[in-house]
């Protein structure tokens, strides 16, 4: 039951955020509300990632994967907090400050990519049979790659032109677009791993991390929307950013809970452990 709540929590959070943002639309309070919401979801994402880390021992493959995801989110949180300082505010910062902010953004993207890449190759290490075989996996990978390119390419190309024209701050958007395409392509193995594990307890962390990555795809799509498709000033991309970070939080917590549940069940007498999983597993 608690896993279902974990899956529901990001949606409830997004609904609450939409309601408040709608209510504040046109008011000066919307910008600070949106900013602190972003900080809150980053903190929740970090908490979830490090909760997952705590479930593993040093040297475990998944510990390293979650560590990269947590570290990447810490760096992007540092960048967001840095922007509170007037010298680092977007639009008014000097070239050195822009470089630092862009550098943190790039570092974060690379760390998150590493974490997702490590998670996405777990199915191979664990010899999990992906549904649909090689052709099924290839088909899902092609669909996600096409979606990722369609969503990120226009903004990426625009940023590449701006960077070529001397706008250093655009570099982060170029790197981000490239990393987004690669990361979104990795949704395919994550999704297929979740489908393969669907009748087991371990489906939860994989399904929730897949939901997080799909939310980033929606974030990119919302950021690329033409003006006029949503009410002016409504922070639609932030709705999906919050969804992505909160699903990262939920996935990390689910990872810790399933590992703990296996350990608890393993030390119980015969059949007691299995009965507990069947009772609390969903």
């Amino acid at each position: 039951m608690r896993f279902r709540w974990l899956a529901l929590f990001p949606l409830l959070f997004a609904a609450a955020f939409c309601a408040v943002a709608w209510w504040l639309l046109g008011s000066e309070a919307l910008a600070p509300f949106n900013y602190w919401q972003r900080i809150l979801v980053r903190v929740l994402g970090i908490a979830g990632a490090f909760a997952a880390v705590s479930g593993f021992d040093r040297g475990d493959h998944l510990r390293r994967a979650w560590l990269w995801l947590g570290a990447g989110t810490v760096v992007i949180l540092a960048r967001d907090l840095l922007r509170l300082i007037p010298a680092f505010e977007p639009g008014t910062s000097g070239p050195a400050a822009q470089m630092l902010v862009s550098g943190l953004g790039i570092l974060s993207n690379l760390a998150l990519l590493t974490g997702i890449w490590m998670l996405s190759r777990s199915w191979k290490m664990a010899a999990i049979s992906l549904p649909g075989g090689r052709s099924g996996a290839l088909a899902v990978a092609v669909v996600t790659a096409v979606l990722a390119v369609a969503v990120t390419a226009p903004a990426g190309l625009e940023s590449a032109r701006a960077f070529a024209a001397g706008d250093v701050g655009s570099l982060i958007y170029v790197v981000s677009a490239v990393v987004d395409v690669i990361t979104l392509c990795l949704v395919a193995p994550l999704l297929l791993t979740a489908v393969s594990l669907r009748s087991g307890l371990f489906v939860w962390p994989w399904a929730l991390i897949t939901a997080s990555q799909l939310s980033w795809l929606l974030y990119d799509a919302a950021a690329a929307l033409q003006p006029g498709l949503v009410p002016a000033g409504f922070p639609l991309p932030d709705v999906f950013r919050g969804l992505a970070e909160n699903y990262l939080c939920a996935a990390g917590l689910a990872q810790l809970l399933v590992v703990r549940q296996v350990r608890r069940a393993s030390v119980r007498p015969a059949s007691g452990g299995l009965a507990e999983i069947q009772t609390h597993g969903s």
């Binding site: 479930g55 593993f56 021992d57 040297g59 475990d60 493959h61 998944l62 510990r63 777990s122 290490m125 664990a126 010899a127 999990i128 049979s129 393969s196 594990l197 669907r198 009748s199 087991g200 307890l201 371990f202 489906v203 399933v258 590992v259 296996v262 350990r263 069940a265 393993s266 030390v267 015969a270 452990g273 299995l274 999983i277 069947q278 597993g281």
Partner: protein
Amino acid sequence: MTSFSSSISEQVAARLAPYIGGFNAQMWIKSVARRDLNVSPEELSPAQLAPLVDGLRPFLQALMGRATADDLLQQISREVR
């Protein structure tokens, strides 16, 4: 002999299935039985439980970490007869 042996793979699969699903559990056992022991899952004997458990270890470690995998495999070694 056959029915007794097949119960080894069934018992192990029953203990793995709640975590990784029945299909993956059977595939893992089949893979280790064929690759490491040169037998089909139905031919596994109680004497082959230890090498089967050792063969499953890397798969489980990748998914749940070393300590948790060791706990689960110890439970399987304890309970499967």
